[in-house]
């Protein structure tokens, strides 16, 4: 069905050319105003120093400063960990939800937390993780005694993972949903074990979902800044923290934009690494 789609559109274009343009107009405007213009502005700003002189110094500073390079490495490492844990939790979850009877209901429960403001969720975790919080009450109850949970790297990764999980589950779930059950039946009929079916049929066919999830989780994780302060106590410094500081405190928009450009490039790299399967034709589309 999908294969025939391009030819169909090709044939319909001449007939409704004007209407197609009319349909494209809002989207085009949106793209120009809210995607292309901001990115162009960020790139433009990144070439200015504090004295509003055109310069390449911001980039020079960035790539010659041990602080920024270390911060970049830090951010990438934490984003990787968050994505990894999110993936490890999300794939089985999506898989099981897909097997359940009332999938839509369970899926709704997964999506529900995303309706709550991230700050509220962060504050809730402060309450849970603090010295007198629920987690420590439980640890005291089982005899371990109160521990320092807030402001540790583990708690930061935990909360970030919790917040990102829905964005990983959804694409994986959709990929599972798109999976034609006939493939699984065929695999079984041909004598493959459950594991072999999963390993050679289900997993490869849902890989695009995982990749979409990685894109949705890794990039925002690179620039998390509220959580690094609220949960991580600024013990973890990411590029997001630096951008916030440059824009709000130092008012060095040039340097802030430079970091923004680096993040955009990082995003493109991640997209290239995780996307692009269609061209190679690895999936049966």
């Amino acid at each position: 069905m999908r294969v025939s789609k391009p030819t169909m559109t090709w044939r319909t274009i001449p007939l409704t050319k004007h209407r197609t343009w009319a349909y494209f107009l809002p989207y085009g405007l949106w793209l120009a105003l809210f995607v292309i213009a901001p990115v162009a502005l960020i790139i433009y700003q990144s070439f200015f120093d504090l004295g509003h002189q055109v310069t390449l110094n911001n980039y020079r500073t960035y790539f010659h400063s041990a602080t920024y390079l270390k911060m970049t490495a830090n951010s990438a490492w934490y984003a990787f960990l968050i994505t990894l844990f999110t993936g490890l939790i999300s794939y089985p979850t999506a898989y099981f939800i897909h097997q359940l009877k009332h999938r839509q209901f369970w899926l709704l429960l997964v999506i529900l937390p995303t309706w709550i403001n991230i700050l509220l969720k962060a504050y809730a975790f402060i309450g849970i993780f603090s010295q007198a919080g629920l987690a420590n009450q439980f640890l005291t109850f089982i005899g371990v005694g109160p521990q320092q949970i807030l402001f540790t790297n583990a708690s930061f990764i935990f909360v970030a993972t919790y917040i990102q999980i829905p964005f990983m589950i959804l694409p994986i779930y959709n990929a599972l949903d798109d999976l034609n059950p006939a493939f699984i039946n065929a695999s079984r009929d041909l004598g493959a074990s459950s594991w072999q079916t999963f390993r050679h049929v289900i997993f490869p066919l849902t890989l695009p979902g995982i990749k979409a999830g990685v894109q949705a989780v890794f990039i925002p994780s690179l620039s998390l800044f509220m959580l690094t302060r609220l949960i991580g106590g600024n013990k973890v410094i990411t590029l997001g923290t630096a951008i916030e500081e440059h824009f709000l405190t130092t008012m060095n928009w040039g340097m802030g934009s430079t970091i923004g450009v680096v993040l955009i490039v990082a995003m493109i790299v991640v997209m290239l690494l995780t996307g692009d399967q269609k061209v190679k034709g690895g999936t049966p589309r």
Binding site: T67, I126, K235, M251, N252
Partner: protein
């Protein structure tokens, strides 16, 4: 499709109604009428009862909008399109706004309460002769400790924080100027220094504090300290006042060797439109009984000398918030540094924060 359209129509109707309601509400509070005053203030930084009283007395309605950082306020006023009659920036921001020609000069002949002020807070370096600004509140930077963990009297100076006994026990306010300033004062240097070597030394000293730092956070410090999450914190006096009010184990110390003295001030942005209302409000707020009532509500120290005498004895004799003259003499007001200098402070501070 039909359902989609009906949902869309429903949504549009709701949005329209809400928009209309918002418009009506705005109209009734009247942000542009002649009998109003548009005040741009920090959050919860004025006793709301005083606003009612002011309106009853003068008939001017006060619209309050709030900001949460000097920089945010600066950006908003600079970009224009606002009609604030009064704003309340901190001292270094007054200097910056003045330089950017964002302020209208104060007409001293129309001010009736100037003689109520303590001279110490007038004629400061950021606005000589108070041509543009009138002090609103002042305060300090200091150390808050919890007497359940720290014996009273053991914390007197900044250097006490570096003791190995306080491993992982200190919370710092996330502010480059204040934390760098604290390190500078602990080394006997000026909080306004621009000497790179001195600043670098301060940063090195801060990295030695890193093992003691539990977290570098912002407003949340209040909540954490009240909940006994940490026994020590470095924060501003106004924040400390709120902590102390909610947890009787907490105490505030301003190190006698010096600290920051900050002053928040009334200024009139260029875009102001209600001259009459502005001076009516300034004169109303500088009246001792009103200034005292406001100081009791907000918890910061008032620069109004006469108002201070009206405060309850336990408040005005409280050395934590009205430090003695020796300490007061050692306090330093931040000078507005050039962007490059601010950048240096921030870069070094970021390096300290990156230190594991």
């Amino acid at each position: 499709m039909k359902r989609l359209i009906s949902i869309l129509i429903g949504l549009l109707t709701v949005c329209g109604l809400l928009g209309y309601a918002a418009h009506r509400l705005q109209a009734s509070s009247g942000s542009t009428g002649p009998r109003v005053l548009n005040l741009y203030n920090w959050g919860d930084y004025l006793d709301p009862q005083l606003l009612t009283k002011f309106q009853r007395e003068t008939g001017y309605h006060v619209n309050v909008e709030t900001f949460d950082s000097n920089e945010a306020m600066y950006t908003k006023i600079k970009q224009g399109g606002t009609h604030y009659d009064l704003a309340i920036p901190s001292e270094y921001m007054v200097a910056k706004m003045k330089r950017a020609h964002l302020l209208k000069p104060l007409d001293h002949s129309r001010l009736t309460g100037l003689q109520n002020y303590d001279r110490q807070f007038l004629n400061q370096s950021f606005d000589r002769g108070n041509h543009y600004s009138l002090p609103y509140f002042w305060g300090t930077l200091g150390i808050i400790y919890n007497d359940r963990v720290i014996r009273p009297g053991t914390i007197r100076h900044w250097n006490d924080l570096w003791s190995t006994a306080y491993r992982d026990q200190i919370m710092l306010i996330d502010s480059a100027r204040d934390i760098m300033g604290m390190a500078l004062v602990s080394q006997g240097k000026s909080m306004n220094t621009t000497d790179p070597a001195t600043l670098k030394a301060a940063e090195r000293k801060l990295t030695r504090l890193a093992p003691n730092v539990k977290a570098t956070v912002a407003d949340e410090i209040k909540m954490y300290m009240i909940q006994n999450e940490a026994p020590l914190a470095v924060d501003w006096s106004g924040e400390a006042a709120e902590m102390l009010a909610n947890n009787s184990h907490l105490h505030y110390v301003v190190p006698s060797e010096g600290s920051n003295l900050w002053i928040d001030n009334f200024v009139i942005p260029k875009t102001a439109q209600h001259d009459q209302a502005i001076y009516a409000f300034l004169n109303f707020m500088t009246r001792p009984e009103n200034a005292a009532q406001n100081a009791e509500y907000v918890g910061y120290a008032t620069p109004n000398r006469v108002a201070k005498t009206l405060l309850p004895r336990r408040v005005r004799d409280d050395q934590q918030f009205y430090p003695n003259t020796t300490t007061l003499r050692h306090l330093q007001v931040y000078r507005d540094l050039s962007p490059t200098q601010v950048q240096r402070y921030n870069d070094l501070y970021l390096e300290f924060k990156m230190h594991p």
